[in-house]
Symmetry: none
Subunit: 210 residues, 2 copies
DNA sequence: CATGTTGGTTCACTATAGGAAATAAAGTTT
DNA sequence: AAACTTTATTTCCTATAGTGAACCAACATG
């Protein structure tokens, strides 16, 4: 193996192209991802269909996974290749900030059917945007239009019950305590189905154009 | 992580939405690139160090190249993975996902003073990690250690009252509905000051976004 | 303690990827 | 048209990726 690759390298150099070696430690990266998600090898095995032993060896760089295996990995772990290949880079991060919002002291944004209350609105440069929404009772006339925005959204019902419409799926009835996470560029809309107003808490990611 | 719930989860995900697996024809794509550059198999062999025969078989999808081989290919051909994987096709942006968690159906992580319930835990590769925490009543003995993790955290009190300690600042008393946003690499800790258990909802960013 | 249980590694084996050389199928040259 | 030349495919063999089972911690539980 080493003799051959050496030769190959020599040839590549001779042909005028730099070897351009990837210093990538695939296994290590993979392990990072697995641990970040609190997954055990068994979990990953179930998700990908690869044997525990195989996964172990891949993580320890004892074998070079087949491309088919890599595909199973990226599909099973829900990542994409660029992500897999580029180790997490540090970013210049601001730190040590905090911003308190007392109940009801958020920034109010009333609209006909909703009342949005922006939380932690004094802090700029956040990665998440949290807000509370009051959905007017019995607002189940046709919603006018899908809401869409880049990124992801997490939503939990604090009070009342709502119906969440999302593009591509059937509507969902959500009651107090139910929560949902979705890609928010997928159209979505909210109506209240309870007698009283419904209250939901949402957190959106901010797009990465910074 | 219980095997059963995990499996059920996998099933639910699978049934809720098509697994976005790439049905990619790697060989074909590779051949396109080769021909576009007017390269012969021999040329590519010289550039990559892979045998002509191997290349032929890869192009005809008779074998699934090893990841090491793929790396030789991308380096030798001077392309990058995304390019290789996305022909004229749209970039594989994950989108259109959604993951419902009914009240109380999150992934439970009990600890002495807290009970964490991970929400939307079935969805991998999220930018945010939402979870509900029950802080045991009267847990105001000294907290053992600061909690720290990269990124930012949003927190809102759903029930009870808590005291939030943060490094560099004085502690804060938070009551139902109060919320706070802070850089979570700053040490922080939570104790309950109410008679009943306190419930808080937290959302953390995950590190390493672009 | 012994006795699971759980997460990870190692082992022995099978399946398959990768390489050298033979083969096929073109196009060139004479 | 036969004798080369050039390029892709196939063959046969070796190296190695992938698997299930055994093995080994570390932790719980009786």
């Amino acid at each position: 193996m080493s003799a051959n690759t050496d030769q190959a390298a020599a040839l590549r150099i001779a042909s005028g192209r730099k070897p351009f070696v990837e210093p990538l430690r695939l296994g290590e990266r993979l392990k990072q991802i697995r641990l970040a998600n609190q997954w055990t090898l068994e979990d990953v095995s179930r998700r990908t269909g690869l044997a525990r032993s195989t996964l172990s060896k891949i993580e320890n760089d004892q074998i070079s996974p087949t491309f088919a295996a890599v595909q199973k990995l990226i599909s099973g772990l829900g990542i994409d290749l660029p992500q897999l290949l580029s180790p997490p880079k540090l970013q210049s991060r601001t730190s040590g900030r905090r911003d308190l919002t007392r109940s009801g002291e958020g920034q109010q944004h009333p609209t006909p059917t909703y009342e949005h209350e922006l939380l932690s609105w004094q802090l700029a440069q956040k990665r998440m945007i949290p807000f509370k929404t009051i959905v007017r009772a019995r607002s189940f006339d046709e919603f006018s239009e899908w809401v869409r925005h880049d990124g992801e959204e997490f939503l939990i019902v604090l009070d009342g019950t709502i119906r969440l419409y999302t593009e591509f799926y059937e509507p969902l009835e959500l009651e107090q305590g139910d929560s949902i996470y979705f890609d928010s560029d997928m159209g979505h809309a909210l109506v209240s189905t309870s007698i009283a107003d419904a209250i939901v808490l949402s957190v959106c990611t901010r797009g990465e154009a910074n």
